[in-house]
């Protein structure tokens, strides 16, 4: 029974993910269930597949409810939609939900955009050790005592030696019966990666632009995490000067003033130098800006840093230009002029609006580097 339902369950999930039976996809609706995690309410926004039926227009129907209020009062939040309101043991028209893990999200993203798996640069030099408590030993510290096994041993001994009395089941372990958990050490070779996000926060970058960067950063993060075991992220914001910030500040700061992109690149360069030796790390710098730089001279300086240093150590350098009303977009042009469209390790992408995000992600990650 359990096996059968597991099979039905995984089939359902495959349909929801669009892997099989694509014609059902148009019936997938996205409900949610409000759960509680500690003090917080969490919503798990998730899909359900509706089987078509002859039915009445949903809003026309109305229904019967119970409680206070006078005619004309709106129903409170969380009130029933027609068809709901069932309690009890018979499954009815429940709102449905499927938990998608980030791993699964990444898979879907990968499938949708046809992203290739990333070929890590092959330095299997990083080792990680994990201890797993998988074994059983007859010696050990009492903090690792395995009660169930010990009990079983004792029971076995007592039964075989005829001491056990079913009417008075007293189990007394002796030293020989004691069982302890023991561990094994797993050594794994891993590829590590670091993402360095840089963002222009000068006056011309508005909330909408930041929203785009944030969304894109999330998906890039999700995808790269699915490809590498240990991933680090660092954040740099810059206007005329650059500084490292935490994630929260990265998306929320709004500064004003001029823009010196080179300041960010310099900081990035320094960060790599001190923390991420390229022999051990896969390095992904992403830079988002509206394309306004202070001067042509600074742009030349940027190109210089890229050419001489950053490009040598990074897997790929990504520049995303978010369209804004105030930006000139010059930097994109400069980069393209210098590196061309098909450069091995420089990827340029223009993001005009929110709809452009998917295409941009594909630009960045589509090469499998």
């Amino acid at each position: 029974m359990i096996d059968n339902i597991k099979r039905d369950h995984s089939r359902f999930r495959s349909i929801v993910k669009g892997k099989i039976k694509q014609d059902l996809k148009k019936y997938v609706t996205h409900g949610e269930m409000i759960g509680r995690k500690g003090k917080d309410l969490v919503s798990i926004p998730l899909p359900q597949i509706e089987i078509p039926r002859f039915r009445f227009g949903e809003r026309e129907q109305g229904g019967v409810g119970q409680g206070d209020g006078k005619p004309g009062d709106p129903l409170a939040q969380g009130d029933p939609q027609p068809g709901e309101g069932e309690a009890g043991n018979q499954a009815g028209n429940h709102t449905l939900e499927v938990d998608l893990t980030l791993q699964e999200l990444a898979e879907i993203l990968g499938e949708q955009l046809e992203l290739p798996k990333i070929e890590p640069r092959g330095h299997n030099t990083l080792k990680s050790k994990t201890d797993k408590y998988t074994g059983i030993a007859s010696q050990g510290p009492s903090s690792l005592r395995h009660f169930k096994r010990t009990f079983r041993e004792t029971l076995r001994r007592q039964i075989s030696s005829g001491i056990y009395n079913p009417d008075k089941p007293v189990i007394i372990p002796i030293r020989r019966d004691m069982r302890y958990r023991s561990w094994k050490t797993d050594v794994r070779h891993e590829n590590n990666a670091v993402i360095i996000y840089m963002m222009d926060v000068s006056g011309s970058m508005g909330d909408e632009q930041k929203e785009i960067v944030r969304t894109e950063a999330f998906w890039i993060d999700t995808w790269l995490r699915s490809q590498y075991k240990g991933i680090e992220t660092r954040y740099i914001i810059h206007d005329a000067t650059a500084r490292e910030v935490d994630e929260d500040t990265f998306f929320k700061t709004r500064e004003s003033g001029g823009t010196l992109i080179s300041s960010a690149y310099k900081l990035c360069e320094k960060m790599i130098e001190t923390d991420y030796p390229p022999s051990d790390w896969n390095i992904y710098p992403f830079h988002f800006s509206d394309g306004d730089n202070w001067s042509g001279e600074d742009t030349r300086l940027c190109l210089d840093i890229l050419e001489k240093n950053l490009l040598r150590v990074c897997n790929v350098f990504c520049y995303g230009q978010v369209e804004s009303r105030y930006g000139s977009g010059q930097f994109y042009k400069d980069l393209r002029e210098h590196f061309g469209n098909q450069h091995q390790s420089v990827i340029l992408s223009k993001i005009e609006n929110k709809e452009g995000i998917l295409q941009s992600i594909k630009d960045f990650l589509g090469k499998g580097k």
Partner: protein
Amino acid sequence: MSSSEFMNSQLTPELAKVRDQIKKYAEGYGLDCFETIFEMVDHEQINSLAALGGFPVRYPHWRFGMDYDQLSKGYAWGLQKIYEMVINTNPSYAYLMKSNNLVDQKTVISHVYGHVDFFKNNYWFSKTNRKMLDTMANHAVKIRDHMERYGQDRVENFIDQCLAIETLIDPHLPFLNPKRRESEDHPEASAEPGRIKTDRQYMDQYMNPPEFMAEQRKKLESQAQKSRKNPPEPQKDVLKFLLDYAPLEQWEHDVLSIVRDEAYYFAPQAQTKIMNEGWASYWHSKIMTEKALKDSEVIDFADHHAGTMAMQPGQINPYKVGVELFRDIEDRWNRGKFGKDYEQCDDMVAKAKWNTQASLGRQKIFEVRRVCNDVTFIDEYLTEEFVERFKLYTYSFNRRTNQYEIADRDFKKVKEKLLFQLTNRGQPFVYVTDGNFQNKGELLLWHKHQGLDLDTRWSRETMRALCDVWKRPINVETEVDGQKKLFNYQNGEFTEKFV
């Protein structure tokens, strides 16, 4: 199902004692149950069972997985928990959640006996297949065989289509007299009906006036035409019609008839939801408070009971409405608050204090549980006082403010709305009226319009499914915004036109 499918599924000796005790109490009150077999299951098992509609063996289908997903997640997040499941078979099987505490188990066992009594004695269940456990398992075997032979996707897709139309059955069909239906199909064919025989030629034109005879002939002709029409009368059991006349392959025929069988099996549960839960709740509360409860258990019981009975604002809880209605009926018949004298009494004070010591309550609720379904239950016994006491209202969607609003607290409106939602399970009445529409072998359905329009988008999708079964164009006669319309679906295209 053999009980060996569950590990350690039997009741513990302690619970077995409790069960015997409660069974005795239940019988003492006059409950009349099938033999009931209790199994202890863990949460994963009970969620699986619930997703499968109570049956451990069902054919493979994703929707069971969908229900399981929701149930197991609800359990994991602590949002819902199933205490018990019971299925309508003889003997009945009831599943108890292992983790329930003793008071919960007592309550639940009492509740189960309420359900089983209802299954056994309620008229609307009288035609259900009590060997459904075996039948479901046979269905599963059959469908698995077909899947192996024709491919899982192909068979499952066809199941999907059948499920889209599984509501197009006639729950009253099992109760019709088959002989009567047969005879209606074949009206007697006499040469000239209504002709009065006479030997006197000259009287003939007076005794059988030509106009009258012409009229009779016309009537006969139209009747003959009607009998050539298939079906002769609008038929609510669309699935039966499809089984009889759709060009189905053998395996498709199997699938469709399996879906139909199961739909008929579950139909009475949907027809008696309020009553069934109400009846079981009435009895668990009665048995617990009057007999089985120990002093130390009162708080736990009250807690559990309050939980199941809770009315959330804006929602109707079938357990609560059902149990309160039964109690209301019992009280009214105990005090003689029924009949002509009571109905015609104008004095509100006298009405409120009415008591003739009739003491017919217990007898009456047993009668109600025997003959009613939810529709007749509400229609007959929902009173104005009840609606007021439980603050029931109707709500509707306000297009102007874009939200649901309380519409009315008027007794008649509330009752009407409730009845509407319960009648045909709140679904549109759809009949098949012609299996050879326009003489082109197209299928014509008729939506009996009762004030609410069909949702066009879902109609289209349902017609797509129907088209896969009928394999020819599908038509639906309906009304939209007061105008008669004909929906048509063929070659993947949906059109609608006024008629």
